[in-house]
Amino acid sequence: MTFAEIQEQAKKEWDELLNGQKPQIAVGTATCGRSAGAMAVVKAFEDGLAEKKVDASIREVGCIGPCYAEPLVNIDKPGKPTLCFKNVNPDMVTEIIDAYLLGDDPLPQYTLGTLGQGEIKGVTKILDTPSFKPQERRVFRLCGIIDPTNINHYIANQGYEGLHKALSTMTQQDVVDVMKASGLRGRGGGGFPAGRKWEAGLAAKGTPKYVVCNADEGDPGAFMDRAVIEGDPHSVLEGMIIAGYTIGAETGYIYVRAEYPLAIRRLERAIAQAHEKGFLGKNIMGTDFNFEIKIFPGAGAFVCGESTALTLSIEGKRGMPRVAPRPRTTEIGLYDKPTLLNNVKSFSSAPMIITKGAEWFASVGTEKSTGTAIFALTGKVNNCGLIEVPMGITLREIIYDIGGGVSDGGTFKAVQTGGPSGGCLPASLLDTPIDYDSLDEAGSIMGSGGMVVMDEKTCMVDVARYFLDFTVIESCGQCVPCRLGTKELLEVLKEICAGKGRKQDLDLLYELSLAIHAGSICGLGQTAANPVLTTLRYFMDEYEAHILEKRCPAKVCKSLISFVIQEDKCVGCGICAKSCPVNAISGEKKKVHVIDQSICVQCGVCQEKCPAKFSAVDCVSPRIKAEVPEKV
């Protein structure tokens, strides 16, 4: 079959699906949907449709982004726009079938809104809401729309068109030129121009060459690579195949975290389907180009996100970054051969750049950071989820418009970008535009796109300690500044959190941080102190409160807080006393209870368990001194 015939067949299948006479039910069953209960929703629809004899089809799709509204169900009825239901549970399914599938009531209270042409009275259009309006879905264009286990859905939506165009009408240099002109910068966080990397891959001498996709998404707080693979795996494969053609490689590896079992299954299936269609294997699309893709499940090491460590890991070695002077991976990479290594989103962006052109790609974004950026917006924010926005948008727009502001009525304190290598930015920098260079200037990094919002209940010293704890565990141990320096930083931070900080510790933290930055071999070490440096720069008052006043303003650091029962609120129900794991609470029934501060371990269970109508347990900082019981 020619590509045109394959495409025609796929489009027919897709058209029948969307424009047929049967209602279509799409349930988001990526990992986030599943954890919110999507599989039970699928089951409820299957049972409900059978029981009520409704002729409709169900398909499982990836994630469209708004994780806070999971499980999400999209229903297409003939002649109507897509109606998107949020937070669906099995009980609601029966109601939805009765009201909307059998009847015509769209149940507006259950919906997020409509997608596509046309409107339904009483229901908002999703793309007109403040949460979606600023977004530009490109890498995510098909996530949550197509069935990721059906290659025809991808093909029907311009899938593999880029590969076909490249193989039939472009030279290897042509592809490099388009990639360079697009201005795409490495989406793994480093921001190195992708086109220049591809050019170096093409120019590199030596065979065989390799293409490697970095899907070792190890940053705590980032999960967009997983979402892209789970929702649109073929876009990643297509990008890798185009890259293989461009540099002259015949083998590609996807290094994916073993903690992503669903993503691995989706990739395996996608690879098999691409083989069936002749997009992988020998003589791809009738040309003399051959390409295979293998999956390598990573065994869990954050440092393997670093390119030289990652390639060593595939070779079956410890993933320790190569020592300087480090050769470029494009020259000496996997098995010491030229290797083109890019992140999931970089590969996934390539097909549309080839299909639609460099100008289209650069039509959004800023001059030096073109295209869109994907963030995992999480933490203390109302609308958690994955967002895709044009580069150059401000932090404020992301957090307040798209994110709907700080959750639980909290006050914004900081936003952390770039994971353990990034930094915490304060409210005064909310108008910073999001691009590689502006974030760098502010002391943080774009990184892989984690964006964690923090409120007044987050202690910034504790956050710095948290990240250093992570880095100490993940340091590969090869170079001294990183191995011992981060450990020392962590010890000092722990002392400060424990109320044993000294004034000179602040200088020590600063000097150590600079030394680790200057002396470490790889990016992990060089950026390891960023969380400390940015919190020192923007939240010095919190460090000082911990050290000078022995007070934790956010009331997080256990050694600096006490729990007390407020006499005027306690009714003596005794729930706290029963749940206290160390029996520190005493009191007679219906009388005010008291916490013995000399026994209390500050676990906070009493505060958690005290019924909300009383809310009698208060947390204070600095600590109340334990009273020495009077001798009777």
Partner: protein
């Protein structure tokens, strides 16, 4: 066990660069990596034993002691951290009666922490085998454990 092991390893004779997939396969079968198995892997691949141990101990996935029937992983990602993962871990430790890294006496659960399972929008969360439990409160942890015990 020896037969099973040699059968498992037979396709990998001399394949040094397959070390990590081999370790993953053996662990998936046996639940952990016993010393004998690692020596056998060294013989099959032709790698020094020291190298097999060096690689296995480098990666977080590999374990050298037997594990419980189920894995109970508490996520310590950034989003989970700011939403109270520490308390979830403490409550899990209390409910299971073990601390991080240990296995319950009845061999049912091994309690571990993980850097991030990528369900940040549903923080704080835990992963029990392949199931993710999301938006947890300490109270829910004991309920989940009780529910599973009742099954």
């Amino acid at each position: 066990m020896e037969d099973r092991l040699s059968e498992m390893l037979s396709p990998y004779k001399g394949k040094r660069d397959a070390l990590i997939p081999i370790l993953q396969k053996v662990q998936a079968e046996l639940g952990y990596l016993p010393d004998d198995a690692m020596c056998e892997i060294a013989r099959t691949t032709g790698l020094p034993e020291s190298r097999v141990f060096a690689v296995a101990s480098f990666y977080a996935q590999f374990r050298f002691t037997p594990r419980g029937k189920h894995s109970f992983m508490v996520c310590r990602g950034t989003a989970c951290h700011v939403r109270g993962a520490e308390k979830i871990l403490e409550e899990t430790e209390r409910a299971l009666g073990i601390v991080e890294g240990e296995t319950t006496e009845d061999q049912e659960y091994t309690l571990e922490t993980v850097a991030c399972i990528g369900c940040c929008a549903l923080a704080p969360c835990v992963m029990i085998d392949e199931d993710v439990e999301a938006k947890l409160t300490p109270k829910m942890v004991s309920e989940i454990i009780d529910r599973r015990k009742a099954k």
